[in-house]
Symmetry: C2
Subunit: 133 residues, 2 copies
Amino acid sequence: MFGLSTKGDYGLSFLEYLTVNQNRLVSLSEVAEAKHLSLKYLERLVGKLKTAKLITSKEGSGGGYCLAKPAKQIRLLRVLEILEGELAPTICTGDYKTCPRQKNCAMKKGWWGVRNKIYRILSQLTLADLFKK
Amino acid sequence: MFGLSTKGDYGLSFLEYLTVNQNRLVSLSEVAEAKHLSLKYLERLVGKLKTAKLITSKEGSGGGYCLAKPAKQIRLLRVLEILEGELAPTICTGDYKTCPRQKNCAMKKGWWGVRNKIYRILSQLTLADLFKK
DNA sequence: TTATACTCCTACTTATAAGGTAGGAGTATA
DNA sequence: TATACTCCTACCTTATAAGTAGGAGTATAA
């Protein structure tokens, strides 16, 4: 239950690698090899992080990626929202869909409570915290 | 992210119906109709709740299901574990699999912290709480 | 004593999304 | 101008979720 897909999994592994190697540009092929991930698949995930401006990149030979800001300033919630989508344990806690059982369902308030608590946990934790051994 | 599948979704709807109709036996066909769920699919989910002794049943005509104990004594965590499986946001927080990147990964401690906080939220909440409007 | 209305069990099918590939265009470096 | 990267889109493959089918077993009540 509540398991990350490989998107969040690989994406966080990638960000961890960038965090450890803060002072330089890191190429995708290096990370893919170090973490045993599919390069092509990783490319796509990383594209999302780029679009969301969590990382910056430099093209061409000798290029690569680095964090756009210190790991201390990147919230786990933000990363997971980008890679895994909106935090919504049930349909009624999501922004986009409406529950087909809305009228006969008493759970909405309870689930919003759960959602908000999890939201707080994930938004209080930064990548620096998460990667602290 | 962290969305329930229809197993947890339908299962909770079913339990909600039982909670509202505490004083009598409720047949599956009644719930399926009231909540617009597939009867055959619901049968399977309910089987799990039966095995886990959250509900009891009576066979034959006039039979049906009821909660095995008051909703106040049933933890949301327990229900979700039965229907959705163990709470494990990452491989390293699960009991059964080991992470292929264990040696190069610094996230285990952080993720266990997250997992344990979510665990507490879900185990503190009972069905009675969840269904309170 | 038999029709009925249920639970209970297993196997099968279908739909959807996750996970992964392919191929190549664009760009900076040496 | 070869090389080593990022970046982009479309495609394929596979796993799992979701739903169906068919019927055996059991208690009730006409």
